[in-house]
Symmetry: D2
């Protein structure tokens, strides 16, 4: 989710009635503010790396999005809250005009956090009357929906970017208090077989989707197997203990380069203290819990782990086929854990477990357009297509994703070296 | 071809009789020496960038390959020409042991070129008696064949790496004398339709192939169209003249970053002199000939050009389906031109023209394993699999490829920013 | 002033009576807080480049200095405000132990600004009773004095680092409101002759000095001349208009490298808007005023300007001899201008004008130890000596320096490429 | 000697009679060719780092110098050997015009070594008749002399640059065969006192000097002491064994940065093999000989060693005063050792030993102009002045310097991190 997404606008798509849209607008916008509520203005202003943005920037950019793509278009003579924000909070839309450089987002002590909140209220005040018109205006409805989906994506980034920032502080401050977790007995993973054949992938139906989930189309799959559970911290410890980071035969060539250049010896946020592995969480630094799903690994580490385990990563279509019958249920942001959790449930009969929530699962598929894909004209078309190079697809959502945001056809994507998202691994293999 | 390739060893594969193998060994080894013949020891020793290797290194490494994978294994108590070469001329085989760093290949004034030629003869002297045994030893035969295919790949790299080196010299020296070329009238490209459906891709049959061309498997293709000719220098000039390099909407995001960071305003080797565009060739600097196929573009430029033209790049499977009925005929290294040529022939009825030879054609496909792909065990397994990340597939061979080396299922691959190969563009599109 | 300084501790040095020390402690500590008063917590937390530190860090580090070098030593069983600050706010004292990396000072949203203010008060509460003992304890008195001088240096850095941060914000916020300045007629500079000969340089007398100002010693000077006024913005505009930045013959070789690599075409903070040159100040962006002393130039630019003007930079000893009879008077921080000002006064008879205040004046002298210089033992010895390499000496103080902090023997120093200090130029030359 | 030098042209300077000049021209030019004689064309073409140049480049550049500054000026309608060489072999003279970038000197396989030798002969053929005119033309004589001095400087660089290249080859080839050296008993160094006072430094008299050795002028020196011998390899081993590279208190701040960034644990070319320290020499890799003068240390290492030893580096004027009465005698290139040698001689009564030859001795003096220094007009003026920033002065010549090239006032200079020259250390201290 290094990027915002745009929905495929379908004129005839079934829409929630206006009142529902208004309610969701209120709820989603409020949820964003709620995420920032425990934070100081200082917490919200800092940027810890070029890939991550300050919380304040997310608060402003999600507002800029509505202002630029909705208010500018649907309100005659709309007066900007501050015309300079048009450049300042543009993320990457060349067609909108200039933008403030991404690595410099942490140089903005002004506008102050308070002003950004005022900006949010200003834009919300202008959005409210438009919601009533959306019943009769498919394009307006579509752009409002897009704004909400976009905002949900940035809610997840608020959490992952903030986590990175806090982790860089030697004081290791926590975003929220420690949770009293009771340990869970690890469960052995087993292989679940799928027959493959001709399957249909991509979004269909009335609900919202991004343009990169379409066109729906057919692919041929060989028979394959998926692990019943995602890889756990305990599994990954075994890989480390077996010298996983020092065995060239396990790694993609580019992965080995980065392991050696960056001296990776463990996943992101891991640190060995007093002989025990710990990891940094939004609830502070904690000891590794072997039963919880593994997270904060790059594609390279996911791939190397799979090779070590005698398996491989699933393709995104194997994953989608495997998830087709699974309920969208699991450990999402809504649970408040903000960290992957060990499961207490038996897997549903014949279906993979924990396939939604907990951790995004790296697939072996390069992020590419579906056959017949066409980006929308104008700035909206910049959301997805232009990122389809040197990125890999992740599926299933994480403990930082709002439950209402995810579906089986949802395609997240990140460069193979990215580790600061809640990214994890589910193994696949060819039948023996 | 940033990498060597290993063949899929198939025990029962039909092999040429030994005498033929011996003849090919002699011929291919001699061809390598022949390529270096016009060059001085100085020409052969220099390295112009980390991606390119000195000619002397290629001469030695192709020999190292036979020594390490054939002589060490099949000759009892084999005595190395120089045991230190085992490290010095290892390219990237971790399982063989240490290796000399790639960017430092240009620091080796010793061994002298003469010694490397002596090394070649030493190894050839030991190979000759083994050829006779290959009839009865499938593994030996397979490794000898692999060595030959590997050497042919490096023959192409000798030419492209040398071209880069000569281009960096302000004296702009030519490798060979200028050819008297008569101009050819450009031909308009047209669209050739393909029905798609379920098609089978990947290598089959008795001949040699690399492991990345297998397993043969089925894919589903939507109907598509291919351009009858590759994009020409004239086509690309129109793109430049239309501001192609300065329009963000045409570029992948990563491509735009590199265009701006490297200040690209034209393909590699192009230079504007006295108001006219010229390009550097192995026969010196020449003026652009609009009728010749375009070359020395990155994947990013190929993709941006296609978008500008209202088209797209073909997938590698569309390309393979489109080439299935084409004869392997064209402007290969064997022609001696060492530069793409304008065609004088009418395209064969219903088939794409110039699909083999002239220029490698970028496809929109990320380089990935075929379903069921498994790398061979040991060092040989490092040839292909470990490079399957952040690279894109090119098809069809070029004016620097030996004709006997190419086939419709052959998968070349380079990172999307690479430009020093003879890489070009064939357009595809969805039917209107 | 990239570094803190330590005083040369002289046992018998005349000290102000305790009450005066206590008053100065209160006044200087309060002045630091006063500087930050107009700023938000966000303003105080950000770091705009590795060379510059957040205001909050300055507030904490100056306090750390008293805690580490005074409280830890003179209070038995002293309890730290927070023991983790010992590492967090150490700037570069290896002998004290680990330290937080300088480029990461902008990653600290915690401790909050409020906590840092509490830290300041905590340490001040412990310092107050110690002041009474300082009459009878020369070492204690010396370290308290050092802490005050150190804090004054950081007061200047607060202003220059903040200026850099605000300048990077596209909103171009001002630290203080615009001043109504009335224009001043520029005065022509003239040359003032000095006879040179054997002169004595370095600090003497009872007042405080840093160790780098001693031992006082003799040097031989040839006759020389100094300009009566510092170089003005108008002078520098003439240099630019004459192609100064594009003429290699004017530049030191390293300077030319940086001009070309960084594409310098004007001093720091200058920007051409609507055909007119502007500069950024702590009072916002303003148009260039030709009569004001030039500032924000590197040593390289100062040197190139001097060569262009047919002159040179003075050595630090020429400067010191030239300033010997000048009153310490001028546009210091105390004036509140926070920007160099054009003078309205006639120069004093036979003395250089504006030699103190307005802008630090680059000298041609590499920062080196005086003969017999010896750093103090322990951490205190790290203040000056270890920076005596590849830096150049500046003299005279600036509009951001407290008037009570400067003297004729004071040696400031920065690398030759530094531009974010209030650094300017006074010309010298050999008599004609 | 990162740079060529220009002499201060003194019209009335006493010159050797023409015949002597002609003989020296022949001898010095022949010596350059002789240095390259044991090398292959490949050896001469490679460049191992941006700071070092290929031997072929040195052969050409020293010729370019005569062509550009003598032939172009004194021969009417002079026809260049190849006009393109004017750019190709210009080192850094902006006033001459464009130049080939320094880091790209290793990209020139053409012109071939043979052609460069032909270039040398061509220019020498034109120089010969001019020598006869030099008796009557002071400027011509001066420029010819400059060309010879310049060529001698590049002779030293040929050896140091070649040494670096060979050292980077894993085969560790030797330039010349091993010398049978008999071990020498180390001699204890002792301190030699000097009274200081007013001394006169800089060149005087009839012989040649570079412009940076003038004007001769007076300086005041405090009493000081110099070590009777340079620091030896044995001395430096004791520093390493005492943890010298890991003790921050011993290092300049910039030095510590580079030690940590580059992971320096020993001087350049040192390598620990089988538990013993070895170093690379022009006669191959050898074990450390404790009695020989230390070499291949940076200014930072020289300074840290001195601090560890309770001493300091001499200033360049202390060095010059200390060397004033020493004969120019020692281990120069003329000895053929090409490596510092342990001395067998007792030091001359009251004078430092081995002060000339063996190793250049770092001084604590930043490279700066002498009072009244003025660069010559035109390109010739670019030789010295523009490098007077962030470099430190070395004195005394080395085992790679021609004996006839050195004198007590000679100022060599390199950046403080440079290690590939034969740079060493002589300690100084204040009297106790």
């Amino acid at each position: 989710m290094s990027a915002s997404r745009t929905p495929r606008r379908i004129d005839g798509m079934a829409r929630a009635p206006t009142s529902a849209l208004g309610d969701r607008l209120d709820a989603i916008r409020a949820a964003t503010v709620q995420l920032a509520a425990p934070l100081s203005a200082e917490d919200c202003a800092l940027q810890s790396m070029p890939d991550a943005s300050p919380v304040k920037w997310h608060l402003a950019h999600t507002t800029w999005f509505f202002e630029t793509f909705v208010l500018e278009r649907f309100i005659r003579d709309y007066r900007h809250f501050d015309p300079r924000y048009r450049v300042l909070f543009n993320s990457y839309y060349n067609a909108v005009g200039d933008r403030h450089p991404r690595p410099d987002r942490g140089l903005l002590s002004r506008p102050a956090l308070d002003e950004v909140h005022a900006y949010r209220r200003h834009v919300e005040g202008h959005l409210a009357p438009l919601v009533a018109q959306a019943d009769d205006d498919a394009e307006l409805a579509s752009l409002l929906e897009l704004g909400l989906q976009h905002e949900q994506q940035h809610q997840e980034l608020i959490l992952t970017d903030l986590k990175h920032l806090l982790s860089r502080n030697p004081l290791q401050p926590a975003y929220m208090e420690r949770w009293p977790l009771t340990p869970v007995k690890p469960r052995a993973s087993r292989w679940i077989g799928f027959t493959g054949g001709m399957v249909t992938v991509g979004h269909h139906g009335a609900g919202f989707c991004f343009d990169n989930e379409q066109p729906r189309h057919q692919v041929v799959l060989s028979p394959f197997e998926l692990a019943s559970y995602p890889v756990t911290h305990g599994d990954f410890l075994a890989f480390i203990d077996d010298g996983g980071y020092t065995r060239p035969d396990l790694w993609l060539s580019l992965g080995l380069d980065i392991v050696q250049a960056q001296r990776w010896t463990a996943p992101m946020y891991w640190e060995r203290r007093d002989g025990r592995w710990t990891t940094f969480t939004l609830r502070g630094r904690v000891e590794i819990d072997p039963a919880t799903p593994m997270t904060h690994v790059s594609y390279f580490e996911a791939d190397a782990f799979a090779r070590w385990a005698g398996a491989r990563l699933p393709t995104e279509f194997e994953w989608e086929a495997g998830a087709a019958d699974c309920a969208i249920d699991g450990n999402f942001r809504d649970s408040g854990a903000l960290h992957p959790l060990a499961t207490r449930m038996d897997p549903p009969q014949g279906n993979p477990s924990q396939i939604f929530g907990d951790v995004w699962e790296w697939t072996g598929s390069s992020y590419a357009p579906y056959p017949g894909f066409a980006a929308a004209p104008g700035a909206v078309g910049e959301y997805n297509g232009k990122f389809m190079c040197n990125q890999y697809v992740l599926r299933g959502g994480s403990c930082a994703t709002p439950r209402s945001h995810i579906r089986a056809t949802y395609r997240n994507f990140f460069p193979p070296e990215a580790r600061w998202q809640f990214s994890g691994v589910r193994l696949a293999r060819d039948p023996r």
